[in-house]
């Protein structure tokens, strides 16, 4: 009993095997191995193993090929060369019709395995196997196997969405229909009807799936198993690489936002990895989502917003980079000349207006830091944007975009000794605070609302849900208690400052 040609194929790296013609399902056995065309063909069956360019010559000649294809003992031709070879289609079809498969093994030493009929898989070859798989790629290898075996191969993601497929349309449709109907039940490698669903198992990543016919000859099954194993291994490696890449990016983003880089050159070089030109100055914006307004605080919302922003940026705006950090979205906008505050606010407003309606219900707020010509100061810009955002969200609830420069006197208050601030504020507001405490009035709250709405009575009344005359009455009482005239600019500034200090301690 001879040895099966197909069984030996399993012991070569899958990426090294190229089926130049289709190969039948039935095992092809041989008892003789010839390394050149013999004068006489002895034995019952033989394979021709060619491993140099010279011996390949006959395959370029139709007449010689025709004679060879008629040799009854010849059951297969193995070509063991590393370089790519192309033969005339007519010659290939001739051998295929005669049932003589031609297989190229991209390894010039491979003939030894056929000569000695080696049936030993060396695990030391795993690195070569994997490297070959990565170099050649899943798609090419799976396509070659599909053509050689005349079978469909389908590749599904973790949600059973079809990523890729090869084979006859009818078979593919049939496999897809089956997977769609049964996908909820599929949890591991399983046979469903005519198809086998192979689980591409990975750690820290949901499984992907490969679908092939369930009934295959043993040798084809072994090669498909190898394909499944290598694809899983590759997915795991990709997952690890993605995770490492993400970690390095997170670290860089953290450093960028919290640390003045010691060398701008280093920062610029690292930025290039992510496609950011940090050689040029950038504005920095922080987009914050208010999850309290009926939204679930999950990363999904942030991802959705990121996706929309990326689409807008890709289609309409240049030199803008977006990334998420600490449940917020950071935008870097390249600007050589330092656009004015109003221009930058307009740009952000345009960006937000381009979003779909679901984001326009007051759930987005944006903080903008100052522009610095030196990008190593982006960390300062980030802190400023955060401060502007915090201040805006606490004091200017009618707006959605806050610029650090809009903080006004608050920026000065930070530098004054808190004792002095408290004394100043209390001197003006103590009487009101006492009244609020003793009689339940809300004089300080009213003044805070007035300051927040720039002393526009109608707006403050609307925001406080009271009539504007009520506010006017309260203001008159306040004027009387504090012995000030709020129509007088000096008095107005003093009271405003006292209120701002009072609010400053609360934010």
């Amino acid at each position: 009993m001879g040895q099966s040609l197909q069984e030996i194929l399993y012991y070569f790296p899958i990426s090294h095997i190229e089926f130049l013609t289709k190969i039948g399902q039935e095992p092809i056995t041989f008892d003789q191995v010839h390394r050149q065309i013999p004068d006489t063909w002895a034995g019952n069956s033989a394979i021709l193993v060619l491993h140099d360019e010279e011996s390949l010559r006959f395959l370029y000649d139709l007449d010689t090929s025709l004679q060879l294809a008629q040799v009854p003992q010849l059951v297969g031709i193995i070509i063991c060369v590393e370089f790519a070879i192309t033969f005339e289609q007519e010659i290939m079809e001739l051998f295929q019709e005669c049932g003589i498969p031609i297989i190229q093994i991209h390894d010039k030493e491979a003939y030894r395995k056929f000569a000695h009929r080696q049936k030993h898989y060396a695990y030391s070859h795993l690195a070569i196997e994997l490297n070959g798989f990565i170099e050649k790629g899943f798609i090419q290898i799976a396509t070659e196997l599909s053509r050689a075996f005349s079978i469909p191969i389908l590749y599904f993601d973790n949600q059973f969405l079809l990523l890729w497929c090869v084979g006859k349309n009818e078979e593919i449709r049939s496999a897809r229909r089956l997977v769609n109907i049964q996908k909820r039940k599929i949890t591991e490698t399983t046979i469903l009807g005519e198809f086998e669903i192979h689980q591409l198992e990975c750690i820290n990543r949901e499984s992907y799936w490969l679908v092939t016919p369930a009934i295959l000859p043993h040798w084809q099954k072994k090669l498909i198993d190898k394909l499944v194993g290598l694809t899983s291994f590759n997915l795991q490696m990709e997952s690890e690489a993605e995770s490492l890449f993400e970690n390095v990016k997170r670290h860089f983003v953290y450093e960028l936002l919290h640390h003045k880089f010691e060398s701008k050159q280093l920062m610029v070089e690292q930025g290039k990895i992510w496609g950011w030109n940090l050689d040029k100055p950038h504005h920095l914006f922080i987009i914050d989502l208010d999850f309290s307004k009926g939204w679930t605080k999950t990363g999904t919302m942030l991802d959705e917003l990121m996706k929309e922003l990326d689409e807008i940026v890709e289609s309409t705006m240049e030199n803008i980079h977006t990334f998420s950090f600490n449940e917020q979205i950071i935008i870097l906008y390249e600007d050589h000349s330092g656009a004015s505050k109003n221009d930058v606010i307009q740009l952000v407003a345009n960006l937000i207006n381009s979003l779909t309606d679901k984001w326009k219900k007051g759930i987005i707020s944006v903080g903008i830091g100052k522009w610095y010509a030196d990008t190593t100061y982006l960390n300062k810009s980030y802190q400023e944007a955060k401060l502007a955002l915090h201040f805006g969200q606490n004091n200017q609830s009618d707006q959605a975009i806050y610029h650090y420069n809009d903080m006004g006197v608050i920026r000065l208050l930070m530098h004054i000794h808190q004792g002095i601030l408290t004394d100043y504020s209390e001197e003006y507001l103590n009487i009101l605070a006492k009244s609020d405490r003793m009689h339940g009035t809300e004089y300080i709250k009213i003044l805070q609302s007035m300051v927040q709405h720039r002393w526009k009575i109608d707006e403050a009344a609307k925001a406080s849900h009271v009539h504007s005359n009520t506010i006017r009455n309260h203001l008159k009482k306040i004027e009387k208690m504090l012995e000030v005239d709020l129509q007088d600019m000096e008095d107005l500034m003093d009271i405003s400052t006292a209120i701002k200090i009072h609010s400053f301690f609360g934010i």
């Binding site: 930070m414 530098h415 301690f505």
Partner: protein, 203 residues
């Protein structure tokens, strides 16, 4: 100089927890005003004439009901010093520690006045601002900060918390911008019900 001591590479690549940060924990009920923390810190930093850590007294001297507060830089989640320093000398490490590169300081005093805790102080010799660095060199060698190690009653300690979830708003102390800056100190004071002001304890 902090520049010469990079964070260990495993902290960078090995899945660093960026949201975790160190935080001081101070139990005011346990503090006996021995000032060991203050003196240990002073000695460690070479007796430069400035105290990175000070102990404040809330009450009359000798009063059994006095409360004490040991305070230094509180390594805020959003440090105001980073915003105000024109030389951009401050940075926040991934473990939350705020570090000042004093070598670039121009003695503008902005951080000194802006810090709610007056943590940065001008070194009279170098004329540069300096402040508590949470003994990060010791931390990198798995040692606790010197002030914590020298507290005999365990009133001063440290914890590592998730800065997105676990940093409570500082109670008992009235300071500006605390909701924004989120100082990384947890004050425990069972006996204290009213608000304290940092300036009360100034001597």
């Amino acid at each position: 100089m902090w520049k010469s001591i990079p964070e260990p590479i495993n902290k960078i690549i090995g899945g660093v927890m960026m949201s975790k940060q160190y935080m001081f924990y101070f139990d005011m009920d346990k503090c006996i005003e021995c000032r060991s923390c203050q003196m240990a810190c002073y000695e460690l930093h070479g007796g430069t004439g400035i105290h990175y850590r000070t102990v404040k007294n809330y009450g009359n001297k000798g009063n059994l009901h006095s409360l004490f507060l040991s305070i230094s830089c509180n390594h805020c989640v959003n440090p105001v010093c980073v915003t105000v320093c024109p030389e951009n000398n401050y940075r926040k490490r991934q473990d939350g520690i705020v570090i000042l590169d004093s070598s670039g300081c121009k003695e503008c005093l902005r951080c000194v006045s802006a810090c709610p805790f007056q943590a940065p102080k001008i070194n009279p010799i170098t004329k540069h601002a300096e402040k508590c660095d949470f003994c990060f060199e010791r931390l990198d060698n798995d040692l606790k900060p010197f002030c914590i190690e020298n507290c005999p009653t365990n009133a001063l300690n440290m914890v590592k918390v998730d800065c997105k979830k676990d940093i409570p708003e500082i109670e008992h102390l009235e300071i500006p911008l605390k909701k924004f800056s989120k100082p990384s100190i947890y004050l425990f004071a069972k006996r204290r019900k009213t608000t304290m002001y940092l300036r009360e304890g100034e001597k």
